[in-house]
């Protein structure tokens, strides 16, 4: 492979002006035992209100890329911009949902959502009202006074989603948000998130290693190469909206899933071959 390929935005009615533009992005971790090039020449553009999933083998740098977009990590090459403005550090314009639920254990569910709203400068009363509305959005009306220790994993992640949405960021960044949940809960959460997204429309960058999840949720799936990670290919998912779980049984869904999987598989095989060469 030569220079990093430019990624064309696929034509489609859902796509508006690009919201997030990443070009030539590179990241190297410097360590005592040598440098690790995590990302090299990452090009990706995400349209306004588009749902894009980032998939790839483990260690390919997809979480690192998300952290850089969140502003939690620096990059050392290339550029990234939201609405044409370069990203400098974290900001309230981007809501982040981490895989570890990151609910503050000393606050109730309501308190956790309010915490974000108060940080965002809302008044106490507004924070309370908005927090209640968002808990009800994720179906946790009756759980406002519970502490995180009283909630299941799925419920915790619902609170985290409510919190990230509550202060109205225009981008949602999700780092394997359902990775720690059991299969059944994960399906519920995917349906919930799809429903919220279809109603409230915002730009989402979603990191996952679950291909079915990526296809089910996304407008486009971006497959990353092995380290150093770059966007290897982009697969548009032109399944109709609203998405329902019946669709996962359709031949079109199966075809898309196979397509994404074969792209990732090529990378896994490359890793395996490298392992064989070393032994």
């Amino acid at each position: 492979m030569g220079a990093s390929p430019t990624v064309p935005l696929p034509a489609g009615a859902a796509l508006n002006a690009p919201k997030l533009v990443i070009s030539g992005l590179g990241k190297t971790f410097r360590g005592d035992r040598g440098d690790v090039v995590a990302l090299k020449g990452v090009d990706l553009a995400i349209g306004e209100n588009e749902f894009v999933s980032l998939v790839g083998t483990s260690g390919c740098g997809k979480s690192t890329l998300l952290s850089i977009v969140a502003g939690l990590e620096n990059h050392d090459a290339g550029s990234l911009a939201i609405d044409g403005k370069a990203i400098q550090g974290p900001g309230l314009d981007r809501g982040v949902v981490f895989q570890s639920y990151t609910l503050l254990p000393w606050l109730t569910t309501l308190g956790n959502v309010e915490f974000a709203l108060l940080a965002a400068g809302k008044s106490r009363k507004d924070a309370r009202d908005i927090a209640r509305a968002h808990l009800s959005l994720v179906g946790l009306d009756g759980f406002a006074d519970r502490f995180p220790a009283e909630l299941s994993g799925g419920m915790k992640q619902r609170v985290a989603i409510a919190r990230a949405l509550s202060y109205r960021p225009n981008m949602l960044l999700m780092d394997e948000p359902f990775g720690a949940l059991d299969a059944l809960t994960r399906h519920h959460m995917q349906e919930l998130l799809a429903r919220i997204w279809e109603q409230h429309r915002l730009t989402v960058l979603f990191v996952t290693h679950d291909v079915e999840e990526a296809v089910y949720m996304s407008d486009r799936v971006a497959v990353m190469s092995n380290r150093p990670g770059r966007i290897k290919s982009i697969i548009p998912i032109d399944l109709p909206r609203p998405r329902t779980y019946d669709m996962t049984g359709s031949p079109e869904f199966a075809r898309l899933q196979r397509e994404v999987l074969s792209e990732i598989r090529a990378e896994s095989i490359a890793i395996a071959a490298l392992g064989d060469a070393l032994t």
């Binding site: 969140a70 502003g71 939690l72 550090g89 974290p90 900001g91 309230l92 981007r94 809501g95 982040v96 981490f98 570890s100 990151t102 503050l104 254990p105 000393w106 915490f115 974000a116 940080a119 965002a120 519970r146 502490f147 995180p148 220790a149 009283e150 909630l151 299941s152 202060y167």
Partner: protein
């Protein structure tokens, strides 16, 4: 269904007794076991003393010890010793904690401050506290200030390191959460790191309070005119082994009580950690 019933009566795959790994013990049974151990050891002590194989000078009987404690209590000496020692440890521990908390939080949160302070703390921490006793007497005399100083030297440096570790174990994602909410650094420190580390810090204080008792008695043994440690030294001079035994038991009871009080406080303050689904 008949099949299900059979399954219910099937023997468990592992031994489910009290002494198997991961077995739970009810609160009442826990206390019963604990008290039983005390009773057995007490009986053993009483039995050995009763046989007369060991002279009372080395091992006084429980009755002798209790009688001596009653005598000291009646004369008011016991209460005086207790009050002065509790006063010294309270203030000494408080001073140490007031300094250790902010410094521990600082070096746990900022690598640069850790580099500046942690090696120094480690360096001093390895100096035996008892070796400071002559120096502290030289500096401050034999009054209460010297007791505070010994408690401080013995407790502070340990506390700083414990608090540093407590703060360091705050999940990175908690701090990242604060960052994504654009909270200023000091606010992340006060609103996220501190409350998050608080339960662990409380436990560190509980553990270091136990050590503070040791340093208090050390200081009182060497140079004091009052207090529990002082009474033990004078008792040794007059071969009053029963007083020594009595005061050692008293120190044990005091330690156990404060420890339980701290544990109770932990349960009250950090109830949110314990609520179950």
């Amino acid at each position: 269904m008949p099949g299900e019933k059979q399954e219910q009566s099937a023997p468990p795959a592992f031994s489910s007794g009290m002494f198997s790994l991961t077995a739970t013990v009810s609160g009442r049974r826990f206390i019963t076991i604990a008290i039983l151990v005390f009773l057995v050891l007490g009986l053993l002590w009483w039995g050995v003393a009763k046989t007369g194989l060991v002279t009372p000078l080395f091992l006084p009987s429980p009755e002798m010890v209790i009688a001596r404690l009653q005598e000291l209590a009646a004369s008011g000496k016991l209460v005086d010793d207790l009050i002065i020692s509790v006063y010294r440890i309270s203030l000494g521990f408080l001073i140490s904690t007031i300094f250790a908390l902010p410094i521990g939080i600082l070096i746990g949160s900022y690598r640069a401050w850790e580099a500046a302070i942690e090696p120094l703390v480690d360096f001093i921490r390895y100096m035996p506290v008892v070796a400071f006793v002559p120096l502290t007497i030289l500096w401050t005399g034999t009054g209460d200030a010297q007791k505070f100083l010994i408690i401080f030297i013995g407790t502070f440096f340990q506390q700083v390191l414990l608090v540093m570790d407590n703060v360091k174990s705050v999940p990175r994602d908690f701090i990242n959460l604060g960052r994504t909410l654009q909270m200023p650094e000091w606010r992340i420190l006060m609103r996220i790191i501190l409350p998050s580390a608080m339960p662990a810090i409380w436990d560190s204080m509980r553990i270091s309070l136990g050590w503070a008792w040791t340093w208090l008695v050390v200081a009182e043994l060497v140079a004091a005119t009052s207090g529990l440690g002082y009474r033990i030294t004078t008792a040794q001079r007059f071969f009053q082994t029963d007083t020594i035994f009595g005061y050692l038991l008293l120190l044990g009871v005091l330690g156990l009580t404060t420890d339980q009080a701290m544990k109770w406080g932990h349960r009250r303050l950090f109830r949110y950690l314990r609520v179950q689904r």
